[in-house]
């Protein structure tokens, strides 16, 4: 593990919905491989009997009442940031090319 090919980089970019330039592809093949080789040091660490940690303060199933709270904010404040709208809907490009 730890060494990425050009094809690996292209596949990852697609999964992450990124389109990389030729320069970026070449750089990432080198840089990501170097970073992955560094983190490979963990492969040798003995973790027998240990469970993975997902949450450090021990909280579980934090819920709040399912009620509407008025914080004073308006949908119009959200809409200001939407790139394209039609009435109260967000407009996107066609999904099937």
């Amino acid at each position: 593990m730890g060494k990425l090919s050009r094809d690996d980089v292209l596949k990852l970019a697609h999964l992450a919905r990124l389109e990389l330039t030729e320069v970026e592809i070449a750089e990432f093949v080198e840089e990501l491989s170097e970073i992955l080789q560094y983190v490979d040091m963990l492969q040798g660490v003995d973790v027998t009997g240990l469970k993975p940690t997902n949450q450090v303060t021990g909280l579980e199933n934090v819920t709040r009442p399912d009620t509407i709270v008025d914080y004073g904010y308006k949908p119009a404040d959200l809409y200001k940031n939407v790139p394209a709208m039609q009435s109260d809907h967000i407009k996107v490009k066609k999904m099937i090319g």
């Binding site: 593990m1 990425l4 690996d8 980089v9 990852l12 970019a13 999964l15 992450a16 919905r17 990124l18 389109e19 990389l20 970026e24 990432f28 840089e31 990501l32 170097e34 970073i35 992955l36 560094y38 983190v39 490979d40 040091m41 963990l42 492969q43 660490v45 973790v47 240990l50 469970k51 993975p52 940690t53 997902n54 949450q55 450090v56 303060t57 909280l59 934090v62 819920t63 709040r64 709270v69 914080y71 904010y73 404040d77 959200l78 200001k80 940031n81 939407v82 790139p83 394209a84 967000i90 996107v92 490009k93 066609k94 999904m95 099937i96 090319g97």
Partner: protein, 474 residues
């Protein structure tokens, strides 16, 4: 530091009518303008700040209480949502984003009369150790303009040291408050994970992100934490605050057990920094603290754990930037997928892309167990070692960073070397314990930070102890 009184004094003066909030805010805005060549601040909120100042002066005039932070100006890192103001996270993809709501931290500070005067520069999305990853500009170190201020809260740290405001807010995911505090010569506090609500703060790595203050003194940081801390129904990971609060930081050194972490005083840390930290430890001993040497054998793996977990969570948190609902949008695309790809590729900078790529890799099918799950398990090992050490000692000490601030441009082409600057700070984030960096001295005029950590939820004890150490080092 010169022009600002302690925060509690400023608020008391405003409340007593000895000085107006407007004059304090104007003083802050004037300093920001005068020192703009340091690139510490992305935008000022002049109109909003002055109007809030007038509201506070009117409150005081009517004899009402204007709050514990009455008229105190502060600067928020530009990944905090301040209602109505632009929030960019120093990224092109969020340029022009008008915050549709407000961060709980800002809300709580404003409820006590504090006034947000400006938004500070950062590495875009808080990805970095120098602010060189900001999509807009690099902040300069207040002690030496050819050097970085540290990151990612570099603008916040520089702003405090340049006396633009009495305090600033930062976020700390792997060291992003403490490292710039160390490099610039400020006090930087990373509280226990969950102590301050993160609602309304641009998410980076959610299992380690915390919010905290940077200021001139431990007492100032403690007061700000006291106002911000506690449960928030808008952040499910937030925890209850200490019923005794955090503002009362009576110095407490005598009889405290201080663990010197062997792995923190090891290779990689420069000799002059080791000298300064050892001097501080000797001063603690002279003041009645009991010094013991401790070992955290898994510490050398902490950075590797972090650079799996952090990009994994980053790649997930940055998934929402798709160019459709907010942020930069490539409208010339024919299909939705092209719009996604072009919006993200044009909107994200190099470091964000790098972390998204690593994160996508370590979370992908076939590699998940070897990387992500393994890192989460080594994290458990680290937590166990910290817990054992904190049974032996009340506090753990060491340097904040292995070296002083580096030159602008020095590490920019070597991402791994840049990541290594976080080597002494990331463990506290992975374990969730509170950690503070306080100025302990200087090497050739460049500040050196002392890092002190305590057990989860021992924030009040840590701040009190740090206040005592700060007095010793003064």
């Amino acid at each position: 530091m010169g022009q600002w009184q302690p925060i509690a004094t400023i608020a008391a003066d405003v409340q007593a009518g000895r000085v107006t909030a407007r004059s304090i805010v104007e003083q802050s805005l004037k300093t920001i303008a005068k020192r703009s060549d340091y690139n510490a601040v992305i935008a000022t909120l002049e109109e909003r700040a002055l109007s809030r100042a007038d509201t506070i002066d009117a409150l005081v005039g009517s004899g009402a209480s204007a709050g514990r932070l009455a008229g105190v100006p502060f600067i928020a890192k530009d990944n905090f949502l301040v209602f109505g103001a632009e929030t960019t996270a120093a990224s092109n993809i969020l340029k022009g984003f008008a915050a549709p709501y407000q961060a709980t931290a800002i809300e709580r500070l404003e409820a006590e009369g504090a006034i947000c005067v400006a938004k500070a520069n950062l590495d875009a999305f808080a990805h970095g150790s120098s602010t060189e990853n900001s999509d807009f500009m690099t902040t300069k170190n207040p002690r030496d303009m050819t050097r970085v201020p540290g990151g990612s809260s570099g603008g916040s740290a520089a702003a405090v040291v340049l006396e633009m405001a009495p305090f600033a807010l930062g976020t700390d995911t792997g060291g992003s408050i403490r490292l710039p505090a160390s490099y610039c010569g400020a006090v930087g506090y990373k509280p226990t994970y969950g102590l301050v609500s993160r609602s309304g703060v641009v998410a980076m790595a959610s299992s380690t992100d915390v919010i905290g203050p940077l200021a001139a003194s431990v007492a100032d940081c403690a007061l700000v934490i006291d106002v911000m801390a506690g449960r928030d129904s808008l952040d499910g990971t937030s925890i209850e605050n200490d019923p005794l609060g955090y503002a009362d930081v009576t110095p407490a050194l005598t009889g405290k057990k201080v663990g010197v972490i062997k792995e923190y005083m090891a290779e990689g840390v420069t000799a002059p920094i080791l000298g300064i930290i050892n001097q501080a430890i000797n001063a603690m001993a002279d003041a009645g603290a009991e010094i013991i040497e401790l070992s955290l054998p898994s510490l050398p793996t902490a950075l590797a754990v972090y650079y799996i977990l952090c990009p994994a969570e980053v790649s997930s948190n940055l998934g929402r930037y798709d160019g459709q609902r907010f942020g930069y949008s490539f409208q010339e695309a024919d299909t939705l997928e092209t719009s996604y790809k072009q919006s993200r590729s044009r909107g994200f900078g190099k470091e964000a892309k790098r972390r998204i790529m690593i994160g996508t890799y370590v979370l992908s099918s076939g590699y998940y167990d070897a990387y992500y799950k393994k890192a989460q398990t080594v994290r458990t090992k680290l937590i166990n070692e910290f817990n054992a050490a904190l049974q032996e000692a009340d506090f753990l000490v060491g340097p904040t960073a292995p070296d002083v601030a580096f030159k602008i441009g020095e590490n920019i082409d070597d991402p791994l070397k840049m990541y290594l600057t976080d080597i002494l700070t990331v463990a506290a984030n992975l374990v969730g314990v509170p950690s503070i960096s306080i100025p302990a001295g200087a090497v050739d005029g460049l500040p050196v930070g002392l890092q002190i950590m305590a057990a989860q939820r021992a924030d009040r004890e840590l701040l009190s102890f740090a206040n005592g150490v700060e007095e010793l080092l003064a």
